[in-house]
């Protein structure tokens, strides 16, 4: 009896194992599509091993296509144009592509299997995304819970970005986290200094990346980041600008202001900086400098808990109250917002009430 069971188990396992072996071998030969050439934007050519999906192959070649779901075709972020060599549209791609996209050969990179040579088109911004190794050269305290981290780029040495974009900073595995994580932070530095990336980071209690930055990262340490990402940027019009951001949300605004100074941008701009108490204000000197250097820039902090001894020139109350009081020409203005989703929603409501049109509001919502 026992012998029978024993024999049975062994026999079935052996047969199962040998069948698995046959499958592995045949997969090796059947899935062998040889080397395939991927031509990107008619300028760059990649020589890769076929048989994988396009997203993984591109990532392996350090071309970062946005993806939130890791290839499971549930996020729809990995769209790009495949002009030649794509094969039929898969049912897994259909829900994410509308008629115009289908007609212009837009596909989901994670679903396109590379079987032969491909010709693809990637938006220029995605093409510019690289992985950077950098060194932390300075850590400055801005407030009790916000620091400015300066990173010098080592490899590649410069980053071409548009003011308003963000990078994904990699926090390596450390005591509080067993695996590496990526967190997005807006670039705060002066775009004229292409080899420096400044990040303004607020300590989030229990946050994996912020804890790493505040308690473990030292000057001289090497970190990795990739980017630049993001659509948040100044328009090319002449419309007056309203910036609204508090805390570490100042980062992209600061970067944009540097750029405005570099390009001698003459647009009228007002920056409403919302904070709780006087100790939450920072970089006031820099803002004063911008007020002097830019022809028409005004910095308006607003404190919801001013206390007794705050300067009278600060607005009192929430930033929405300050905007209501001080913004007179909302109808012509463009608004650039950076902060928590709650703050952005509240502010947009006020701006629309004041007459601003919704298409003129731009925001960066990831705080």
């Amino acid at each position: 009896m026992i012998l029978t069971i024993f024999t049975a188990v062994i026999v079935v396992s052996l047969i199962g194992a040998s069948l698995a072996g046959v499958l592995v071998i045949s997969e090796h030969y059947l899935n062998d599509y040889g080397r395939c050439r991927i031509t990107i934007n008619d300028e760059r050519e990649l020589d890769v091993e076929g048989g994988e999906d396009l997203l993984s192959l591109l990532t392996a070649e350090k071309i970062f296509i946005p993806s939130a779901c890791g290839g499971r075709s549930t996020c729809g972020l990995c769209k790009l144009k495949v002009l030649e060599g794509a094969g039929l549209l898969l049912p897994t791609e259909e829900p994410f592509l509308d008629k115009t996209e289908r007609n212009s050969n837009v596909r989901l990179a994670c679903q396109v299997k590379v079987r032969s040579d491909l010709k693809i088109e990637i938006p220029k911004e995605l093409f510019a995304i690289r992985e950077y190794t950098c060194k932390c050269t300075e850590i400055t305290d801005l407030t009790y819970d916000i620091k400015l981290f300066r990173f010098e780029l080592i490899e590649p040495k410069t980053m071409d970005y548009i003011p308003g974009q963000y990078v994904q900073l990699q926090a390596p595995a450390y005591k509080k986290s067993s695996e590496e994580v990526y967190r997005a932070y807006s670039i705060a530095s002066d775009p004229a200094e292409k080899n420096l990336i400044d990040l303004i980071i607020r300590l989030v209690p229990g946050g994996i990346c912020t804890t790493y930055c505040f308690e473990y990262l030292k000057v001289g340490d090497e970190v990795k980041m990739n980017g630049p990402y993001g659509q948040f940027r100044l328009t090319e019009t002449d419309a007056p600008i309203v910036f609204i951001a508090g805390g570490s949300g100042m980062a992209p605004i600061k970067c944009i202001l540097h750029q405005m100074k570099n390009t001698e941008n003459k647009r009228n701009a007002t920056y409403f900086f919302g904070a709780n108490q006087p100790r939450d204000l920072f970089l006031l000197d820099l803002m004063e400098q911008f007020e002097k250097q830019l022809p028409d820039f005004h910095f308006i902090p607003s404190l919801s808990e001013p206390g007794d001894n705050s300067k009278l020139e600060y607005e009192k109350g929430f930033v929405t109250d300050a905007v209501r009081r001080r913004l007179k020409n909302a109808r012509e203005c463009e608004a650039y917002l950076c902060g928590s989703p709650g703050m952005i929603e509240a502010v947009i409501k006020v701006l629309l009430e004041l007459g601003m049109s919704e298409e003129k509001t731009f925001y960066d919502k990831f705080e």
Binding site: V11, V12, L19, V22, L23, N31, G87, L88, R115
Partner: protein, 215 residues
């Protein structure tokens, strides 16, 4: 619809001579298609039958795949039964062993189809790996064991069952394509009307009973 067990036909030992084996195989082949259609008489393999039979083109592809898988797995399982299960007396393990062989074989077929006809692979979608759990496939192998068919007869039986299944799904697809533009009550649309049609087809095939019984 009765299962005929012919104890005189120890097929595995090949006692009958070649010519009568062949004629037995042929009879089994014909009966597996018409009188003992594995889908319409034994109601095995209904899931993809209802799921894929919307289009003749896709049903054609799936039907061909099923014919191929059914014939090949019947033969492979016959070999496994003769040379592994019988000698070692592991009859109780036949279900597991058959399923393992079927699963591996379907995986292999998947890889081949994906390589040589990506369009068919995409059209079949999830129903290709689902052939593994198509009870008609396992059913054919088990019937082959119960009826103690010899190798040639197994070939005829597997091929015939596959073709019978194929015919049934093609017929269903043809009917459904015709019905696509007709007004069907909301509650019956889809699986409802398909099952009714399947029932009517099965009734029609009952007309073949008694013409031939493949034992």
């Amino acid at each position: 619809m009765d299962i005929q067990v012919d104890s005189n036909n120890r097929g595995g030992k090949g006692k009958m001579n070649g010519a009568s084996q062949l004629s037995h195989a042929f009879i089994v082949f014909i009966s597996a298609i018409f009188t003992q259609n594995i889908l319409l008489s034994y109601f095995l393999g209904l899931c993809p039958f209802i799921g894929v039979s919307r289009e003749v083109k896709t049903s054609f592809g799936l039907g061909m795949a099923v014919i191929f898988v059914m014939t090949s797995t019947c033969l492979l399982n016959w070999l496994a039964y003769q040379y592994v299960i019988e000698p070692l007396g592991l009859h109780f393990f036949r279900f597991i062993l058959f399923i393992i062989i079927i699963a591996a074989f379907v995986q292999f077929v998947e890889m081949v189809i994906e390589r040589y006809s990506p369009s068919l692979y995409q059209r079949l979608g999830v129903f290709l790996p689902l052939i593994t759990v198509n009870c008609a496939i396992l059913g054919a192998s088990l019937f082959m064991v119960i009826r103690e068919y010899s190798f040639i007869v197994t070939f005829g039986y597997g091929l015939g069952s596959g073709i019978g299944w194929f015919l049934a799904i093609i017929a269903m697809a043809g009917i459904r394509q015709r019905l696509a533009n007709d007004r069907i009550p909301k509650g019956l649309q889809g699986p409802g009307i398909t099952l009714i049609i399947a029932g009517l087809m099965a009734l029609a095939f009952i007309g073949f009973t008694g013409v031939l019984s493949g034992n």
